[in-house]
Subunit: 508 residues, 2 copies
Amino acid sequence: MASSSSPSSLSPPKVPTELYVTNREKLLKSLRQYLIETSRPLHGFVFLQGGEEKFRYCTDHIELFRQESYFAYLFGVTEPGFCGAIDVATGNSILFVPRLPADYAVWLGEIKPLSYFQEKYKVSMVYYTDEIVGALHKISKEVDKPLLFLLHGLNTDSSNFSNAAGFEGIEKFESDLTTLHPILTECRVLKSDLELAVVKFANDISSEAHVEVMRKIQVGMKEYQLESIFLHHTYMYGGCRHCSYTCICATGENSAVLHYGHAAAPNDRTLEDGDMALFDMGAEYNFYGSDITCSFPVNGKFTSDQSLIYNAVLDAHNAVISAMRPGVSWLDMHKLAEKIILESLKKGCIVVGNVDDMMTERLGAVFMPHGLGHLLGIDTHDPGGYLKGPKRSKEPGLRSLRTARELEEGMVITVEPGCYFIDALLDPAMENSNTSKFFNREAIGRFKGFGGVRIESDVHVTANGSNNMTNVPREVWEIEAVMAGAAWPLDKASACSRENKVNNGPSC
Amino acid sequence: MASSSSPSSLSPPKVPTELYVTNREKLLKSLRQYLIETSRPLHGFVFLQGGEEKFRYCTDHIELFRQESYFAYLFGVTEPGFCGAIDVATGNSILFVPRLPADYAVWLGEIKPLSYFQEKYKVSMVYYTDEIVGALHKISKEVDKPLLFLLHGLNTDSSNFSNAAGFEGIEKFESDLTTLHPILTECRVLKSDLELAVVKFANDISSEAHVEVMRKIQVGMKEYQLESIFLHHTYMYGGCRHCSYTCICATGENSAVLHYGHAAAPNDRTLEDGDMALFDMGAEYNFYGSDITCSFPVNGKFTSDQSLIYNAVLDAHNAVISAMRPGVSWLDMHKLAEKIILESLKKGCIVVGNVDDMMTERLGAVFMPHGLGHLLGIDTHDPGGYLKGPKRSKEPGLRSLRTARELEEGMVITVEPGCYFIDALLDPAMENSNTSKFFNREAIGRFKGFGGVRIESDVHVTANGSNNMTNVPREVWEIEAVMAGAAWPLDKASACSRENKVNNGPSC
Ligand SMILES: [Mn+2]
Ligand SMILES: [Mn+2]
């Protein structure tokens, strides 16, 4: 699809079905090991229910279907209404396909035979969903009530519980509601090479779309127009029909609203000269997501104040990525980011005093109330953040962390430090007797309405360090060059002819 | 936003809040009239619950919120979590606003005072949703159990019932579950001028986007790339964040799948030379939708077979629009379209025999299994289709009609005749002893894999006739000119220099 005139150098890759085969094998291995360790027999079925299409309210408007994430992980099924099972004894995988009415062929498309799905999803067996009881009983032979490992457990980001599968006749089985969820969730935490390749493509196309946005942004546009440019680029050239999350296209003071862009704050502000833009947008490809934030001045030129805050955040971002490797605590990485940001703010005369004292008083959470980053995969906030390691902290900032685990090889985690000027946090902190002493009120006043800066990359933890899968202009001079029309990645000439305009800020 | 280099001549209009004020007044008038006619007292509250944001499965992924349609009609509220009431006695309107937690300001945006919503939505009073019981009791003064008219009724397209509002303390009210739904639904059937202006804009921007798609389509592209072009155009230049429905971008034989484009048939085919394209796509603006289908050859030049089917459908489309006026039965319009299509197919030697006999045997439903069109408004399939007039027919084709009513001034209804070659319908019809005689099997064979043609416009029923709100190239020569690069609307020069290439097909 890419041509010399195409604004993209990418095209959607074919994702091998082996990805799901590998995911199932990994689950089987973990589950069997657990059963052996707990002296339980190696039999029963992992049984999951896929998602269903949903009507909008009472109407016949059907929302575009997106598969439930655990089901997607194990089976990769794109269609609604399926169930799936894995036989713990044999490792056989079984898909249950909805039996479609004859007029489906007229309204919704060809009714495919079971063999089509067996081939498409590389499973051992296929039946209709109305055959679940019979098929599983037949496979289990003489067992009176075969055991089903059902998926039931807490999502620590939403505080919602996953719904265990249900079907007519489920009372003819024994159910185990506790074993599967933690084991399957832990499988999802560490990505296979096949998964990493998909996350990488989602990153590639989203990175390219962010660059396209930087090129096209202009004072006078509406925020949502940049959302539209991003969505179009990732769908048109990347085949990404879904986004990982609702686009956050925040400019001016909106950039201090961490989850801006939802229906009650719908990216509808007009861009003004002098605004910072904070664009947090990531496409999803073949279920796997990306989550990328770029911050830059709408007019293409950083002011010294903008550079000051931007570089404070960039230094934190880079320091964290450099420090990441297996065994490192994510809580420590969060604190490292906070400390670097506070040091920069101190250098810029925005805060005053001893940085360690600031850390003790959790001053970092005033400027960065969210966590440093989260696991990323089939869900943007991928589950498993508190399956191992410390419990969720109660301290400001730290309690917002979606994981506090030690890093492990194979994790994909976002690194997204930020620095925001949020009245709702600054005002009480400047009143508070423990923290008021740290603020240079005049400087803080200068940043009223500034908004904030976030820099977010998707980072793969490798055996010896980490690999940043996001590829967008990050240095001030890189951003200014790209916004002025330079190609990305910068060629050597533009990289050499740059004037390094990094502003170190005033000395206090 | 439109500039000389912009591919759009449009920009999103401001929609006056009077639209919802007018809608509420209309409801009040109808409801009071009904209460008077049935000798009931003029008191109580119309009480509706707005929509809520929804998580995706167990995760914290929040789907982009779109307001429930009845609530949107009366209050125009874009934010989730509201309730609304109208005092039948005084006509006062009351909004109940969710009380947001303090940290909303950090994560989701400024917490607006009640007065902001009173001003924004031009309602008489505003309270928090936790004040519903107290506020309504206070307004009702000495009444022990004030009456609530709740919204409960059948949607005849989805067969779902709307959920009546619920809140803590609702037992302190009397509930009427039957009065409101038919009266409010009937209000939605006839559009006000303010509503028509919004539907018109949705049509304008969607028409322009369809033209953009015709210009950019090329053999070798993927169907979803045209979806992306459409979505981008309507969002970028029209501010349309929502679509009326999932885009149907069907090419080749997919164009015979009436509701193609969903997750199990996701617009992923590669376009081939010689394909017909059937693109059914409509943007939603400020809650109100559009629903437009264009059919054309992917390579920009109609073959004689393509012209034959296309013109059969276009003649039906045009004849219906010419015949539309208040008092005309929609069932008759459906039959008119069928008859014209069958006559054209006979002229083209695809069917043989007496057209009246074909009509008696419902042969039209083999080629056009869907209804001629449906009411359009805040829902794509706007409700009220069977509130008045005949019950739903049981005959093929006719039973698919979403309304069988007589046209009334103020209705907006889609006119969408189609002609498809669907094996699942043709095969049994060619076997059936009553209908087999009508088919020229050789000709039918020639159209195997052809797919189908649909032409869909959104038409406003006026006092004396109708007004087509859709503005896209419809004549074969217009489509070919636009696809070859001519501006749309065509200027006089291109219109005059046209070669009229309409092909009347072979003579039998
Ligand atoms: Mn993130
Ligand atoms: Mn339609």
